[in-house]
């Protein structure tokens, strides 16, 4: 018994100090203004300001688009991977890029997309002319989706791999075509993976701030960018915390909608 008690001490300490306390603190902080006076002003400010509301909607809209693009690319990828011999190896190849530091990859895109970068050189070569790629919504979404693809592929791949092959044979046996089998058997059975993937992509997409700055050139302001700005630039922690609370609420809504039955390939 005593041993068991000792096991839990460091872990319990972690829960109290680094899970509960920070969440309580961010809520607490959201009720203080920049001068340290208790106030509800931050919330009032947030709810009445068209800037903040528009930014929230924008942020949700972009996160939705990023999630959708990622899903559309990732589902077929996971599906095809699952039919390959040595599929674990190919999956590893999909995951490998996540081992490269996020900033390094983003940095590569700055080079690729720049006015005189490789893509523009290619476009000019094919006669399509040079375009402004960096600091556009499209490039921002492309890079965000690029970053998120492995986190979407992984859970979908896992749930597809878990499907008992005899279920698919049974479907054919009962007269279903390939398409019907996909729609009525494979797709519904892979839903847990899709939901886990959406969860793993949507929430980080809401709070991106590094890519919005480096690739989006501050054209896109997400909830994440706003929080970073309030905390590290304007030092208005109260307002930053308030937006943080909004983000946490959004997070819970997503988790509720996608059902937190199974958590696979989630990330911080």
């Amino acid at each position: 018994m005593r041993q068991k008690a000792m096991f839990i001490v460091p872990y319990a300490l972690w829960i109290v100090l680094f899970v509960v306390a920070p969440l309580v603190l961010i809520l607490y902080q959201s009720f203080f203004d920049i001068n340290g006076h208790a106030t509800l002003g931050n919330y009032a400010n947030y709810l009445t300001s068209s800037v903040y509301l528009k930014m929230t909607l924008n942020s949700v809209w972009y996160a939705l688009l990023i999630t959708l693009v990622t899903l559309v690319i990732s589902y077929p990828t996971a599906y095809v991977l699952n039919h390959l011999p040595n599929k674990q190896f190919w999956l590893l190849l999909v995951i490998l890029p996540t081992w490269i530091n996020l900033l390094l990859k983003t940095y590569a895109f700055i080079g690729l997309f720049s006015r005189t970068g490789t893509i523009n050189q290619f476009l000019q070569f094919t006669g399509l002319g040079s375009h402004q790629l960096l600091f556009t919504d499209a490039s921002f979404m492309f890079v965000a989706a690029y970053i998120e693809i492995p986190f979407m592929v992984l859970p979908i791949f896992n749930s597809l791999a878990e499907i008992n092959p005899s279920l698919i044979n049974a479907s054919y046996d009962l007269g279903a075509t390939q398409w019907q089998t996909f729609r009525k058997v494979i797709w519904p059975l892979s839903m847990p993976g899709v939901k886990a993937g959406i969860q793993a992509v949507f929430i980080p997409s809401l709070s991106l701030f590094m890519i919005t700055r480096l690739i989006g050139g501050n054209r896109v302001i997400t909830l994440g960018t706003a929080i970073e700005e309030h905390f590290l630039t304007t030092q208005n922690w109260g307002m930053g915390s308030t937006i943080g609370v909004v983000l946490i609420i959004a997070m819970f809504i997503i988790m509720f909608m996608t059902g937190d039955k199974k958590q696979k390939g989630g990330r911080s």
Binding site: K4, P10, P76, L93, W99, A108, I110, S114, S268
Partner: protein, 272 residues
């Protein structure tokens, strides 16, 4: 028909892999360019590697980053494994609350973690720097370890522990000789994941680091905003090779790794 189906998927997959690896290849190629920008390849050169090794600030930062990742994942693995053992033994209502609390940091956006830790450290009066970064990394790595270890614990047959007691083992012996070796793949995977999470982190570190201390991500962020320097390409290439070697090593170990890997397989009851 099967053949036809496969060729379309092959094309698609090739396309996806090209996109996934294009930026990496791009970084690697230009690290060997003698030019100063990533615009036009200007002939082979190792100049940027020389620059990198001469840049003592960068070298320090790389060492810092590795040190934080090493220590954070080690501590997180110990605490997380103990946590997983505690969760496994916990009774129903407690178990579910512990699991939910465990997953809070898994699903929280990085900015929230970063911002809340910043408030936390400021209130406690912890100086922002190495300690605050290390503590933060340990904190967000623990739940990953728990999530990697817990399934291994759950698939451990309860009779296995009974068998250990039956054969005379004490609690401690059952833990060190049966449970820990049997869940070793999970612990190892947990350490691995924690290490990569720590290496990869930018947002949390960005919030909780002070002036004196910087990790690779934060450094690249500030340099990228000032303009491109091919020294970073050289660094990317080295890091890519390192992670490639790690992955290949891991793959070989798990493929031919004798016993350790078979623990995963034995539950599926292969050889009959």
């Amino acid at each position: 028909m099967k053949k036809h189906h496969w060729s379309w998927s092959a094309i698609y997959l090739t396309f996806v892999f090209i996109i996934l690896y294009a930026p990496i290849v791009y970084l690697v190629v230009f690290s060997f360019s003698s030019g100063k920008t990533m615009e036009r390849y200007r002939g082979f050169s190792l100049q940027h590697y020389a620059d990198l090794f001469a840049d003592s600030r960068m070298i320090t930062i790389v060492i810092n980053t590795l040190l934080v990742a090493f220590l954070a994942s080690l501590l997180a693995t110990i605490i997380g494994t103990l946590g997983a053992l505690a969760i496994k033994d916990a009774r129903r209502p407690w178990k579910n609350s512990l699991l939910s609390l465990n997953n809070v940091l898994m699903v929280s956006p990085d900015v929230i973690i970063g911002a809340s830790f910043l408030i936390f450290f400021t209130m406690l009066g912890v100086r922002l720097g190495f300690v605050s970064v290390l503590l933060s990394h340990v904190a967000f790595c623990i739940p990953i370890v728990v999530l990697m270890v817990l399934p291994k614990l759950n698939e451990l047959s309860p009779t296995l522990v009974d068998a250990a007691y039956d054969l005379g083992a004490t609690r401690w012996q059952a833990l060190t000789r049966v449970i820990l070796p049997a869940i070793a793949p999970g612990i190892l995977a947990g350490y691995f994941m924690a290490f990569t999470y720590s290496l990869d982190d930018f947002a949390v570190t960005f919030f909780v680091t002070g002036n004196g201390f910087s990790t690779l991500s934060v450094e690249i962020y500030s340099r990228a905003r000032q303009g491109i320097d091919l020294e970073i390409n050289a660094l990317s290439t080295l890091m890519f090779i390192a992670s490639l070697l790690l992955v290949i090593g891991y793959y070989i170990i798990s493929k031919h790794g004798g016993r350790r890997h078979r623990i995963v397989v034995v539950r599926e009851g292969d050889a009959q």
